[in-house]
Amino acid sequence: MKNFAVIGLGQFGSSVAKALSERGCQVLAVDIDEEKVQSISGFVTHAIQLDASDEKALKNIGIEDIDTAVVSVGGNLEASILITLLLKEIGIREVIAKALTPQHAKVLQKIGVDRVVFPEKEMGLRIAESLVSPNVLEQIKLSSNYEIVEITAPSGFIGKSLKDIAIRTKYKVNVIAIKKKEPNINEAGETEFKEVLNLSPTGEDEISAGDILIITGEVANLEKLRKEK
């Protein structure tokens, strides 16, 4: 299992650190602020308070053994650049840094960062996309021309089988899975639903109200499908 360092424990950094930890990874979480270190200490392997722009301090905690470091001190440009530079010099194989502006990203690129992330920009794009196509729940680009989308089943599909809809011939896309919400009663006797994923739908499978279709295909063809009511 790879081990990670997350430097800067704001909202972004702490989410990354906790999510990695939950997935069973070894995580070293670092921040200059003792309070932030304290609040994450129960969730990660090691949480250490130090100034990560101090090379000696970084080496003292054995940072060179880390496979991937995430630098999430986006708010402080100088610290972000300095820490990224130090990590690359120390020889960390993969350094991912959060940037706030394109200029910041450019500097990070020049000093050898392996990946720059713009959480705010990426989230902004996703929100815009979801506002334009509210029935698209998720979208993964496979290449510039192909993508996988998760859409709520158009009402015109409800009660029909995939064969009846002729989704492949009409839209030239493939339904790779159908997510259904099955009503049930939980142990406490409360009404609930559980999500059931049909991963190999056949032509006979019928679409019900509330179903979510996971579809792959060319962007232009998916666009046509998205416009279905």
Binding site: T191, A209, G210
Partner: protein
Amino acid sequence: METNNGNGNSKELALDLLELGKFYYLNERYDEAIKVLSKALKFDPINADIYYNLGIVYETRNSTHEAKDCYLKAIEIDPSLKLAQEHLDKLVGN
């Protein structure tokens, strides 16, 4: 017919309709479930359980706005309704 007065009979009627709504929901008859649960609310407008169940039906149908409103109302009436809070968190993002 008396409605909204919260007296014993109205509340009982609301509970009967709630059960019927649950029955329709479990049989995937969502339109009927919504109709019956909405009617139940007329007889007992401060029943968090009815709001929660109506929220569940709306969410199952992907009517997220309506589901959100129901969960909010359920929590407002009964802040200890954990499931309603969990569903609201999932829908709104928390």
